[in-house]
């Protein structure tokens, strides 16, 4: 356990404390307890920069399940550190913002911050784990916390729908990723990412290579909302705005990008990887930007814009993967795509984070996010307007903001695709720069829509629920910090290049010598003319929007992906309901029927397939008269239960059978068993008598004891099978009995003389522990069922 481990689990630890602090100090906004942690962690991770910038990695390991090769191995390299800084940095700002955004009187703040901390810890775990299983565990935890946060306002139907959708899609991808991880393990025999990378040349021809790649990509694409899995992200906007800014824009949705970057050294040698990652990325870029224009909800525009920008980063990583094919000593001609990806990742977090916060402010102060109702807000919220201008212009790729720099690099990378000359990129590859350019025009259009429809134009006070005014200072500070970063990075991009970007690129592309230098002015290059074209055509399209908006109606609702998702959900729900209703009848006799029927089928088949049924009559002890009498009593008791006319009789008969069995234990000198059996029998008879009161009366029909053939067959079958197994078990002694071990060691090792008890508490203590846990769960279940039903009943009476 090192400080690094502590840093990663500290959010979980704080999550335990938050509800207690919340209860004790109701007057203080719970966010203040949370805020110091991400700030401290941010400073802590900053202290790694001197080490990572000279390409050192820090690895700390802590054994978890060493026998399976699963350990908490955390590795801080350039890529992991970049993400860790994003998570803690944006995390601090978001927590600060949320203190002003969420009212402490109206909201359940304790759960909110517990979920948020859960997410923060899980996300740190994802980006710093070197062990794939640990990574996967944290990965699923981020999906869960995202689910909980989207459904935070759980009384809204749309929140629940969005939460479920994100959960289904991302967990589906997560499971497929687990499959990919297992395939990787089968190929390499290790879960450690760094060790797999060292073997990456040997696994290229393995038949599992392509399936593993596809499975892992599926995980990454679902998480990072790539087309066609992007449909969950717009619905996730039902979450409180700080959450959207944090999870669904800056961090969690970038987990897929992180995974692709991490896995690039393993898979990028293969052309399929380059095509898939770049192809899905570029399609997502276009589709997201295109769909964003038709949105009317501010957060809807931002959601589709996030989808589109994620696609852009993804496509850059794909193209960057092609560089693995060239000699690593080659210059940085093709690695520019990866540099652009990392750079844009940072820029996107800054401008999109600030824009989400702006959307939150607008929503908070006007009561709506619909751009058809908004307008003219610049007079009421001058500061918010300034931040929005900076954010959107950076998003549109305008100078002098940081978005311009990364967009230029993006164009450079896309233009150079034509020169790569492998994987058929020289022919179809020409699509990349074209789609990139068209998508950038749409990006420009929706960026303008976002800022000008909200802040300029006619102010429509009659459509707003509240009278708008500038937001409180606390809500303005975080977006202002992000907006200043947009400008600072825009003017001094090389502040980041050797400290953060170069180490991150080096982690994605080991063995490459990366030299990052970002400059503002490249001369009159193709990229510059592409940007100019984007601006000119973008302005034209923006002005002419009402004329071509009809394009969007050409796509019939019927064939939309959302419709597909809904119908799949519907069909599967209906099918499972039909299936469940068929076997869940609500009668325990039906369930017993199923249980015993399967019991017979499975055991009988095994007995006969394995030819295990044997009877050996040697080594049997003689039967005493007393034992014969007891057996007779048990049989008579058991059989008479069937013919008992009342419940009371059958309960008493059942008790008699149980007591007789305990006499057997006495005869066979098992005092512990006898004692337990006696007491159990007493208590269960008492319990039966209590239940008795609630059971319906024996019906006339049942009193006649209509003989049911099926039931009879099954009951006789169970008896026969158990007898056969008992006989075979006696006759086949495959192993030596373990009894001797206990005889020898009970006193030696456990200092006890009662072997049965020592086995229970010591040798097999684990079993006992779980057994009492099961007992506890059963008791709580019964308590819950009966008490909840009672309370429900009372409520109905009141109505």
């Amino acid at each position: 356990m090192s400080l690094l481990h502590l840093a990663i689990i500290s959010p979980f630890l704080l999550a335990i404390l938050v509800p207690i602090l919340y209860k004790l100090l109701r007057k203080v906004h719970a966010g203040w307890f949370v805020l110091p942690l991400p700030m401290l962690l941010f400073i802590y991770f900053l202290s790694y920069i001197p080490r990572t910038s000279i390409q050192q990695t820090v690895i700390k390991s802590f054994a978890w399940i060493p026998t399976l090769g699963i350990d908490f191995t955390f590795k801080v390299d350039g890529l992991g550190l970049l993400f860790a800084l994003l998570i803690t940095g944006i995390g601090s700002l978001v927590v600060f913002y949320s203190i002003y955004y969420l009212s402490k009187d109206k909201e359940q703040l304790n759960t909110f911050y517990v979920y948020l901390l859960l997410f923060m810890g899980a996300m740190l775990g994802v980006v710093l784990s070197d062990n794939l299983i640990v990574l996967y565990t944290f990965w699923e935890l981020t999906s869960f916390s995202s689910f909980l946060l989207i459904g935070y306002w759980y009384d809204r139907e749309k929140s629940r729908y969005g939460a479920q959708k994100s959960m289904l899609i991302t967990v589906f991808g997560g499971l497929s990723m687990l499959g990919g991880i297992i395939l990787l393990y089968l190929m390499t025999g290790t879960f450690s990412i760094s060790e797999i990378i060292q073997q990456s040349n040997e696994i290229l021809t393995n038949p599992f290579f392509i399936p593993a790649m596809l499975c892992i990509l599926l995980g990454a694409f679902t998480k990072s909302a790539q087309f066609p899995f992007h449909i969950w992200l717009p619905d996730a906007m039902e979450a409180p705005t700080p959450v959207s800014a944090y999870l669904h824009s800056a961090t969690m949705v970038k987990a897929g990008i992180y995974l692709v970057a991490r896995m690039s050294p393993i898979f990028a040698e293969n052309g399929l990887w380059v095509w898939l990652v770049a192809g899905f990325g570029i399609v997502t870029l276009f589709w997201g930007a295109f769909s964003a224009v038709k949105q009317t909800d501010l957060k809807g525009i931002l959601a589709y814009s996030t989808v589109s920008q994620l696609g852009m980063i993804m496509s850059l990583l794909g193209i960057g993967g092609a560089a693995f094919h060239f000699d690593s000593s080659n210059n940085s001609y093709f690695t520019v795509a990866t540099v652009a990806a990392v750079f844009h990742l940072i820029n996107h977090a800054t401008f999109k984070g600030s824009l989400f916060m702006v959307a939150g402010i607008v929503d908070h102060e006007t009561g709506t996010r619909d751009i058809r109702k908004l307008g003219g807000l610049m007079y009421f919220m001058p500061i918010t307007f300034t931040i929005a201008i900076i954010g959107t212009f950076s998003m549109a790729g305008l100078p002098p903001f940081n978005g311009f720099l990364s967009k230029e690099m993006f164009f450079t990378a896309m233009v150079r695709v034509l020169e790569i000359g492998i994987f058929n990129l020289e022919t179809w590859g020409v699509l990349f720069p074209i789609i990139a350019w068209v998508a950038s025009i749409f990006t420009f259009v929706y960026s303008m829509l976002l800022v000008f429809k909200t802040f300029t134009g006619k102010f429509q006070s009659e459509k707003l629920a509240k009278k708008p005014h500038e937001a409180p200072i606390g809500m303005l500070i975080p977006p202002t910090i992000l907006a200043s970063l947009v400008i600072i990075i825009g003017f001094f991009p090389n502040l980041l290049s050797n400290t953060i970007i170069a180490p991150a690129v080096a982690a994605i592309m080991p063995n490459f010598k990366v030299d990052v230098h970002i400059s503002f002015w490249h001369g009159f290059t193709t990229e510059l003319f592409m940007t100019l074209g984007v601006i000119v055509i973008g302005i034209l399209l923006y002005k002419a929007l009402p004329k071509w908006r009809r394009v969007y109606r050409l796509f019939p609702e019927k064939f939309s992906l959302n419709r597909l998702y809904n119908s799949i959900l519907d069909v599967s729900q209906r099918a499972s309901r039909t299936m469940t209703n068929r076997y869940l009848t609500g009668f325990s006799r039906t369930y017993l029927l199923y249980l015993f029927a399967f019991f017979i089928i499975i055991l009988a088949t095994t007995l006969f397939v394995k030819d295990a049924f044997t009877v050996k009559t040697n080594n049997l002890s003689s039967i005493h008269l007393s034992e014969a009498i007891l057996a007779l009593v048990i049989s008579i008791g058991a059989i008479s239960i069937i013919f008992a006319k009342s419940r009371l009789t059958s309960i008493i008969l059942l008790g008699a059978v149980g007591y007789t069995v305990s006499i057997f234990f006495v005869l066979f000198r098992a005092p512990d068993l006898a004692l337990t059996q006696l007491v159990i029998e007493t208590i269960s008879v008492a319990l039966f008598l209590l239940c008795f009161y609630h059971l319906p009366k024996f019906k006339k029909r049942e009193e006649r004891m209509r003989f049911r053939i099926a039931n009879a067959v099954i009951s006789v079958g169970v008896g026969a099978i158990v007898t056969m197994i008992a006989m075979s078990a006696h006759s086949n002694k495959l192993f030596d009995s373990i009894a001797q071990y206990y005889v020898d060691n009970t006193y030696e090792k456990a200092a006890g003389k009662n072997m049965v008890n020592v086995i229970l508490v010591d040798f097999r203590g684990f079993d006992t522990m779980f057994e009492i846990t099961v007992l506890a769960i059963a008791a709580l279940g019964i308590f819950g069922m009966i008490k909840l039903r009672l309370e429900g009943g009372k409520k109905n009476e009141n109505q």
């Binding site: 007491v679 609630h694 200092a751 009662n754 008890n757 229970l760 508490v761 010591d762 308590f783």
Partner: protein, 140 residues
């Protein structure tokens, strides 16, 4: 459950204490002679059930005002805590230790962490049985 049985009530008042004492004995004796936390717990709940049968649920709850659900939780904490405690000494989960001490009057006494574990079992068993019986019995 209305009972007005004087003989049963009078006997119960005496017998319950005998059973409870026996249960405690059985619990502690478990390591060397038949018994242990499980049987001890069952016997204790047997005694309580006897009270329940002789008197009614209300009287019982006045007499023994336990929240049996808390008892389950405390029991589980004891058992799992004993197991987890061994992790602090860098030995595998659920490793027990024992020692002998000499006390002036009681003589040689064996102390064993397994007893703590067993105490957890005891509490869970009492808690579970009584929760079930009380909920079902209290359901109108």
């Amino acid at each position: 459950m209305k009972t007005n049985d004087l003989i049963l009530q009078t006997t119960t008042k005496v017998v319950v204490f005998i059973i409870l004492l026996f249960a405690v004995y059985i619990f502690f004796a478990g390591h060397y002679t038949p018994g242990g936390g499980f049987v001890g717990g069952l016997l204790t709940s047997g005694a309580i059930v006897l009270l329940l049968l002789a008197f009614d649920l209300k009287t019982l709850q006045n007499f023994l005002p336990f929240n049996y659900i808390y008892m389950i939780a405390i029991g589980l904490l004891f058992s799992i805590g004993t197991g987890a405690g061994s992790l602090l000494f860098n030995v595998p989960f659920l490793t027990h230790v024992f020692t002998h001490i000499d006390l002036p009057i009681l003589g040689d006494l064996s102390l064993h962490t397994a007893t703590l574990f067993d105490l957890g079992v005891f509490l869970v068993v009492v808690g579970v049985t009584m929760t079930i019986i009380q909920t079902i019995g209290g359901d109108e």
